[in-house]
Subunit: 235 residues, 2 copies
Amino acid sequence: MRIGILGSGSVGRALAGKLLVLGHEVWVGTRDVAALMARGAAPGARGEPFAAWHGRNPNVKVAPFAEAAAKGEILVNATAGSVSLAALRLAGEKNLAGKILMDIANPLDFSRGMPPSLLVCNTDSLGEQIQRAFPAARVVKTLNTMNALLMTDPQQVAAGDHTVFVSGNDAGAKRQVADILTNWLGWKQVIDLGDITTARGTEMILPLWVCLMGVVGSPMFNFKVVKWEASTKPI
Amino acid sequence: MRIGILGSGSVGRALAGKLLVLGHEVWVGTRDVAALMARGAAPGARGEPFAAWHGRNPNVKVAPFAEAAAKGEILVNATAGSVSLAALRLAGEKNLAGKILMDIANPLDFSRGMPPSLLVCNTDSLGEQIQRAFPAARVVKTLNTMNALLMTDPQQVAAGDHTVFVSGNDAGAKRQVADILTNWLGWKQVIDLGDITTARGTEMILPLWVCLMGVVGSPMFNFKVVKWEASTKPI
């Protein structure tokens, strides 16, 4: 399948590398390909310049946002949440129309220092903003609640026994995304929270996630939803 | 020990009942004792009027906020988040001074209907508001991320293998609360998130919690933090 990944940071790279290994044609979209290739080490990308990463993954195609979006049959928003809407406008409404758009971004605001706050929350979310701005896209919020390396390899923690959420208005899109999460990426517990307004819930756990990263001392952790089961009921 | 529980709803009742069974002297504080005793079924209290509950738990002492706070050596804020500051003002600054105040409330706003939003979040929290309003109280935010019945009996889900958080500025108070959570209530995984500003993180998972209650079809669930361990590392 042809996948268009918008964003060239750690999230975009982790997904691009994994999807390539799985045999897909992967297009990474960026604002300015020449500038990206010339750029030095970027924050959040484990210090590695994109060109060095691409040297190790030469089969990933790199293109402007609009071309990557046009090529992709399924699209992924892996841009920073603060610039997602601008990047998607560059990708172009017609290139998003009718397609699944997996929205992995979080609207983190680092402008006040650490820990980050959210640019939008409580009565709205980035997922909803994207769905409103591009009503013909089939937006599914997912994978925004764990580290990039864990997204594509959940087995690295607790034998993969933990949770990923999906939110979106299009039931068929959510089923297809759940299939991708399960069969491509290896997720065991996919929870459908409901329509795109439930993206508020997953975006709003980011402040707790950031605290936990400090406590755990690593981003390699996740949440598992545990619930009452007949088998755990006291006799 | 003498425990003052401010609030007579489902959270206050669950804790009062449990602490009484454990042999403590429990004072439930309310605005107007006579009105509480005369009141019919209240929302969120499983339909049972307080007087009926008290009939089954007659050894719980019921008193105005200020008296319950004065009697308690350890205090619990189990009021609705929207009225917590008002209730604590009635409890009286001098009755809170120097004491551990376990803050279990969430600043839920039901005024726009379901699902609730938060009255404060992102750059502030109810826990911080309470600590600022009562600087001599030793506020520890905890137990605000699960149902009242699970707070006092974590074994009901997944054999108790899930997480409770503590946030607060006073390390000694957090150690004592962690001891209460572990040895009185049976919690196995207590995570100290840091100072009281980390209460933002736990209060902000409420929107996800509310979504999950709908999906799970019951409030008997919780989050477990799973992390990378040497034992799960691929060989």
